[in-house]
């Protein structure tokens, strides 16, 4: 089985000359369908760099990254955008909602820009699971932080991406809701058979993950 996401000696260096910072040391990593993976580590350790390279938002300085077997190395921005649109779903710390679109229209926008096969029944089920079915006519500004994050998660899952990348998805949620969200991500990962990678500080969530990696000073190591 081909891994969904592969890092092959991929590293990221910022700056040049004496002022170079190696944010991600040469990393080899692979993730398969149906896996829920945690990346933990202190702030500034390189977790976000790893996540943004995995999401095609920046490219590795050396080595290569493959998504469904396709190398991102020499892709132009237009091709990377296409990969992000078709294969990747993002859940960001700051909610990624369009401020002037109602919750319902956030999904209409996705219907317009991306081909997907979410049936109306699946859609209703997704909204019910995330508890957002009563929020469809609300604008993002009318939602609480937790509601916004749940809508953002629904948005990321809506198009059934092969890879779901989440940067602190539970940061703005209370404990009960955080566990609920993790439980949902776990369920959806198995149901949609995608790869979900979550960057988190919250070690209470570790039991939900299939694999846990720790990032320290740009070095990624799998935990037991």
């Amino acid at each position: 089985m081909m891994p969904t996401l592969q890092f092959i000696d991929a590293s990221k260096t910022f700056g040049d000359g004496h002022n170079t910072i190696k944010a991600l040391k040469p990393t080899t990593f692979s993730a398969n369908e149906g896996e829920l993976i945690a990346i933990i580590g202190p702030s500034g350790s390189g977790k976000s760099t790893f996540l943004t390279i995995a999401g095609g938002l920046q490219t590795a300085s050396e080595g290569d990254v493959l998504i469904n077997g396709r190398s991102l190395k020499n892709m132009r921005e237009k091709e990377l955008a296409q990969v992000r649109l078709q294969d990747i779903g993002f859940i960001l710390q700051a909610s990624n909602l369009v401020p002037f679109l109602t919750v319902d229209k956030q999904f209409s926008l996705l219907d317009r820009v991306k081909q997907h096969n979410m049936s109306p029944e699946e859609r209703t089920h997704l909204f019910q699971t995330l508890g957002i079915e009563h929020l469809l006519q609300q604008l993002p500004n009318d939602l609480s932080g937790g509601e916004r994050q749940r809508v953002a998660i629904a948005k990321a899952l809506y198009t059934k991406p092969a890879i779901l990348l989440a940067d602190e998805p539970t940061a703005s949620l209370d404990s009960d809701r955080a566990f609920e969200v993790m439980s949902l991500l776990q369920k959806q990962t198995k149901l949609q058979n995608n790869t979900t990678i979550v960057v988190t500080h919250d070690t209470r969530l570790i039991p939900y993950f299939d694999k846990v990696f720790k990032m320290t000073d740009g070095v990624l190591k799998q935990e037991n």
Partner: protein, 357 residues
């Protein structure tokens, strides 16, 4: 269009204000263009009404009607024109005998009542007797009416208004049409002498075939109008004002749209991070600009017409729908170019920075 329209619907006040700015700029340009037409028309409408192809003047006159004096012999030598109409002109100050305070600068034209340049009558009747004149109907708003005895500054004779005609202003002065006999009388010349003619107005399919004595020249109607005192200078000045206004408003609109787009940079960045293409976002910005500009310009158009309907008779504004449509089109094109310019800023947005990476 989806993003564009939904943003407008959710932020009505902001977009009403933006459209209002476009409305006011369009209104100003439309109104100025109306003023250009109106002022131009004040100079030329009598000549336009003749529907003449050319005017024959003396070579020495520098295409000025009062400076050109033709003899009867000169007129008889003009060949190959379909229609010829001799004309004499003099300027004067006219005032009603019953109320000498009603002074009004006029251009007096002597024409033959059966020539193609003779005035059509909208009120009263055509001049027939000595001393009869047909006046431009603009004089009605100055209190002149059929039957009024009028004193002319250049003469000790009186004339009587026997009728009115429309669209009869020349070089910004209302026209009094009269016979050559009356003109001789006004000028203090003996009626029996050959009438003095300033020019011959011509209708001809091909003016290049018209034969005239060497002392005369055939001047195309448009050239004759361009040479009217002050006409070209006034037109160039006002047209330049409109051109500068369009250039300045184009820059304002472009800056406006740029700021509007830059304000949404983080939102565009997040959408780009999600893989939504530059092209989709660019189309959205351009569509939004198109909607705002069309609404603003259309309302500017309507407001201009509404203003025109309530303006006093004396305000020299005349709206020409074709030139207004051209200006409207220029506005829409300029705004879209401004939007395209602002779209370049979308292309430069780094989605990584926008999501705080």
């Amino acid at each position: 269009m989806f993003l564009a329209w939904n943003e407008i619907k959710q932020n009505k006040l902001r977009f009403i204000l933006i459209s209002s700015v476009l409305l006011l700029i369009a209104y100003l340009v439309f109104f100025l263009s109306g003023l250009v037409n109106g002022l131009a028309n004040m100079n030329r409408e009598a000549v336009d009404k003749w529907q003449a192809d050319a005017i024959i003047l003396t070579d020495e006159s520098d295409k000025s009607l009062p400076q050109s004096i033709l003899s009867t012999d000169d007129v008889s030598q003009v060949k190959n024109a379909n229609h010829l109409a001799p004309i004499a002109q003099i300027n004067a100050i006219a005032s009603r005998v019953s109320d000498e305070d009603t002074r009004q600068g006029v251009a007096i034209f002597a024409v033959q009542p059966d020539d193609f340049i003779a005035p059509n009558i909208t009120d009263g009747h055509m001049f027939g007797r000595k001393g009869d004149v047909v006046a431009a109907d603009y004089l009605k708003s100055e209190g002149f009416k059929v039957g009024d005895k009028v004193k002319l500054s250049s003469s000790d004779k009186y004339v009587t208004i026997v009728g009115f005609t429309d669209h009869a202003r020349f070089n910004a002065a209302p026209v009094l049409y009269t016979s050559f006999e009356t003109m001789q009388q006004i000028k203090g010349l003996p009626i029996e002498s050959d009438p003095l003619v300033n020019a011959v107005v011509v209708q001809s399919e091909n003016i290049s075939t018209i034969k005239v004595p060497t002392s005369l020249e055939v001047v195309e109607t448009e050239t004759f109008i361009e040479k009217l005192p002050g006409y070209a200078a006034q037109n160039i000045t006002l047209t330049l004002m409109i051109a500068f206004l369009i250039v300045i408003s184009s820059v304002i609109i472009a800056i406006f749209l740029y700021v509007l787009t830059v304000q949404k940079a983080s939102m565009f960045g997040v959408l780009k991070a999600q893989g939504i293409s530059n092209a989709y976002l660019a189309r959205s910005v351009v569509a939004q600009t198109f909607i705002l500009t069309v609404v603003g310009v259309a309302l500017g158009f309507a407001l201009t017409w509404l203003t025109g309907a309530f303006l006093p008779y004396k305000v020299p504004v005349q709206f020409d729908i074709l030139s207004m449509l051209i200006y409207a089109l220029i506005f829409i094109i300029v705004a879209i170019l401004g939007a395209v310019f602002s779209v370049l800023s979308i292309f430069k947005i780094d989605p990584l920075k926008a999501i705080g990476g």
